[in-house]
Assembly symmetry: D3
Homo-oligomer: 276 residues x 6
């Protein structure tokens, strides 16, 4: 996806500079961090999250893959919202089919993990629930999520179900799930593990991973490579912005995409200069 | 879900009384009965449907379950609309795979049941079609549903398909289905039984059941317990409204949710008084 | 579905002529060809596409079926947009699981078929990708589709995945797919065949077929029968418009639908005259 | 499938008459009615069941389809045994998701229908349970089936689950199901309707239907056409036996199958005479 | 299922004592512990496993459920063998989608868990692999399983795949899986956790759990209740043996099953005495 | 899998040489080419097929993968037989959903491709039918397959259905399919393409590919690399045979598998010499 900045640029370029009367819309509107998150982030995170909101999801995917992580995109869940990008850090939980002896043992050690995670969440975090795809139960609902919002929560990812779906849909938060249900957690499920690696779809999510979610899925970026990924991807985005600009002027694909020919590569260098 | 009344209250409380500058939206807008239904209901039903529009779906589910009905939530279908609550009484039909001998016998006794049910429907009813999940055929379309609308029809629930989906989507009605198709009923299906218990997803629906549907599924309430369920659930909704209010003020979960501590329980008593 | 013209008529009739104070909305808004397509079509196609935008999908399905094509409706894919009708001519491609020897051979003969098809597309065409339902890969994304838009492309149908979903959603184009992904085509898939008969869902699509897509699926019309289908279906639409009009006046189904009785048939003849 | 008689004939023909040293096995061994059924049938049924054991399943399917029943083959279930043909008359039951009010009402009227059906079964009957595909529960087990066996029961068809699978597998009976489970009927299911039309896979089964089951599915024959179907199919089997015989002699397909040429048709007439 | 002892008894009773000429087979042959397991068990375990081989699976399920464990039966996997009962103690592992950073960390701490578990297994153990249902990869194959056999391994349960299926099928061991594949563990999966609670199908399995597997699924018994379960179930088996005996004599279900009437209850008391 | 030769060797070694009283069976019986195939192969193919019957499927998979073909194993189909290895060369066909205009055109050019392929098949070939997973129709049955057997046909692979399953099961041939049905090809499907690359499960099969099938799937080997694959795999099989032999003597995994330590590597060199 083109970044927010590019989005604006493109419209200006194609609409104004090149005099095309009715410019085609070919990219989504810019992404915005919800104020409930933005106002609570540290300055360092605000800068990081700004870039994560701007980077192309597909170029970031390519960078993550070329770093040795080809299995890091979750596309098995359904987002509650479209046209909204999720950016955040993973706080993970594993849920298991309910079982009396283990449940008694686990719950004697503290509250259910949906309560604990909402309460302990740091600004910009995403709660990640692995329930093995269970669709007859839920892991959380609107009230606990209200607390999570007040803590600066950025999103929820559940390989399973949630309740209170219309309320969740009204919240300034990104939520991905398998299905909704009116049920509570029990009697089908119980929370078991906190902040361990979990499976979401066919991807392993580790606590602290950086997540970028769009309509069609969630990219999971190991924290240790996020800066490298951003740098590579943002640089590639710049070229894609230029390629799209050429196409909107009516140029054919050969020579433009996927690879610029020599003429266009020179134009691209000028394009980059002009933008600065 | 919070009720409509609570929704308004909450905004007032958090926005005005407690001086929070930009209150978070944490609940869906109030539900409204479509005029085509509301104007045709009897006074008694208008009162009942008013409460059904207001009650929390999840608290109602809990009350239904505690009455001995743990298998009464359908989450296997897809709603045509989001952000719209369905409330109504079930009028049921069973469809079967088409078969010449049986079809000849059944159809000699009267018209297809989609016609009959649309014509006989009472205001506030929901047509419930059990087709065993068949996705290559449909049970009804926009024209028959127009008649159903004129009769005060409130919704349609099909464990199968419907045609004319864009028209259906434009109607003031709630519709849940497995899939759409352009096909007529035959040659795949035929209508077989009228006003008998049917299976929708993994739930048995009986004629006269009260249905509450939201984005994530449909709660099936036996008519004999609907008053008890409403009373229990509405009372619990009041507490959840207060709990959400406390959380929006910044209080942590412990002491607030799922259980109020003593201090907050006293505050809740005052909260209830103030509301009257 | 009722046609655009009928839509307007109906509102006038039921709202103004018959004095019903708050007319029910029972049909979707009129369909419109995107300017990026309309402005590029030949005069002959502009007329044809106009009718295709207007005809009822279900009546067209019935006409196609009665011509001997009962397996011509695709309802296994998900549209990126609702409330938008797709009309276009099929340009087909077959993708296969990636395999080094065959890929080397195929790609030595020319570019990937997503590039080639976008570049060669004629105004009003729909790119049709058969990938066997593969959900872990994609066949194309926003940049190539930008070129396709500039060529007057009307839609994309993929029995598989696409990337850049938010950008695609912003475009004036109709897109049907199984799933989204951030991945490129390889390493899972490769393009193999161009302009051959392909399987989409449970339907065979042949290059040059006329496609009409709505929220609930895509009707595949062999080019050789499109005029006959349009003529039959538009004539039947006129009757359905009248039937809906009677129902909105409060008439019961018997005598109106599915078959007009003698009285109503006479009224229909007058209705048709009045409209001219 | 070739009939039992044909099977023997073929081996004789190809092995002895035509001197082929190691004849290929190209048909399954002859089918046999279990003694527990055979000894309890009426003379008329013994003759009928004898033909049903002998007729080709595919030729019978073709005859059923040409009589106007194209949707009468169940291939969604799994047989507990392979190499065993089931023949019998349907005794049907419909099970529904459990629900306290309805269950109390139904069970006050008599025992669960698995008990009732086993007790009332006539020799040569097949119990047919429609549970909507439920895999977390069962409808019956080995003890009730023991009683059914003692009554001359021929088979069980469940669109759902059974318990005691190893015991069932040891019994001289044909059983088709979705899955096994150790559970009892409740708390998931309850029996609801007896001897009504039911849905098994995508087929409607009516009480009294004749069922023929093999490894790959169950043909459902309306009782009223069974004699016509047998007559048509057995006659066609005779030709297929001859065709296979020609192929085993080394003749090529053209002229033999699917249609005999004139020379082979004459040979077929002689073949039929020789067999009498 | 009837136990081994009961099986023999029944045949004697019905065949010899009661003079029925051709007794029906209504129960599976007795279960036997493979010598590779039996010879390696401790005396205490040999006695325990003997009872576990003998107890009815369905009566044990009922006892487990009545102890408060209604979600303890796995019926989502496929056994490699039919007619073979698995009995053993769970040794559990969790596998996750492969991911370079985590894999490097985990594998630096020791060998893959399939190697470790085979090497550390105690006689009578069952290796339990949770892979989240992954079908494109495997967790182990014939060579590692050979070592596990030499250690007295009793079975393998994989919510995923194994390789070398024909060799595994030849081994004196019970194996349950989702699918086979020729692939190694990587690049799709990696082993992550050892001897932790895992999810298999919709059941939580804890290290040390007692497993009983038959053709149709696996009962998971918490170690702490195994003696109580055995005692309850074996006692109930005795009654079922008597009930089946009565039915084989031709008695009808009422008065026999599911509940004995007074006359039959007295006969049962004598039956129990005679057996001692 | 261990090869046939190794199988025998192992039993001798573990049973006789090393004096273990009751040797464990840890590998499947040797594979055998059916006489109907073996007697018809050319000398060169007889040698090749002999090696293909002997090589380990998993070691061959590893060799194919390391040659650059990681997506060449089909595990989505069900074999009609277990314990039988299929070896053969692919003859491919593509079937499409039936459609009158295209069917008329295709069938005017020659017979249905199941007839043509059976008639043109060369000894040792496997017919490969791509039908897109269609389960409501079949591509061929017992009579056409009889002709194919007479031509030396080795197997059939259908991503869809076949009829006459009991007869097919009786034949000396390996068959893989999705499901059985009693139906003919039409009216659901039609044959479309002959000897083109096709998709089976998630693998591309090219005419002339070498296929090895076992209980758990089919390895697809491009003809150009088959000799290299065999050479690599057979050499690795020899080591696996030795590793299994060490384990059967009671050695632990470390030092034996997956990697031999220095001591065992020397023993392996002696083992290889002894075998010659």
């Amino acid at each position: 996806m083109l970044s927010a900045m590019k989005h604006v640029t493109l419209l200006l370029l194609s609409g104004a500079l090149f005099g095309q009367p009715t410019p085609l819309t070919v990219s989504a509107p810019p992404n915005q961090l919800p104020p409930s998150v933005a106002t609570r982030l540290s300055p360092a995170d605000r800068e990081l999250f700004g870039k994560l909101m701007q980077v192309g999801l597909e170029t970031a995917w390519a960078a993550v893959t070329s770093e040795g992580y080809p299995q890091n995109f979750v596309n098995e869940l359904t987002p509650l919202h479209t046209g909204r990008r999720m950016v955040g850090r993973a706080r993970t939980m594993r849920y298991l089919p309910n079982r009396k002896d283990l449940r008694d043992k686990l719950y004697s050690q503290g509250p259910q993990l949906n309560y604990r995670s909402a309460e302990e969440a740091q600004p910009g975090e995403v709660l990640v629930f692995d329930t093995g795809g269970e669709s007859r139960s839920t892991v959380s609902g609107a009230i606990t999520t209200t607390r999570f919002l007040m803590r600066g929560g950025a999103g929820i990812v559940v390989d399973g179900g949630m309740r209170d779906v219309p309320d969740l849909r009204a919240m300034p938060m990104s939520i991905y799930l398998r299905s909704g249900h009116a049920s509570s957690v029990s009697p089908i499920l119980m929370s078991a593990d906190y902040q361990v690696p979990v499976r979401i779809g066919s991807v392993t999510v580790v606590p602290g991973d950086i997540l970028i979610g769009e309509d069609h899925g969630i990219l999971v970026i190991p924290a240790s490579i996020v800066n490298k990924v951003l740098s590579t991807a943002l640089s590639h985005d710049e070229q894609e912005e230029f390629q799209r600009h050429l196409l909107l002027q009516g140029e054919p694909l050969p020579g433009v995409y996927p690879t610029l020919n020599e003429t266009n590569r020179k134009k691209f260098e000028e394009f980059k200069k002009r933008k600065k």
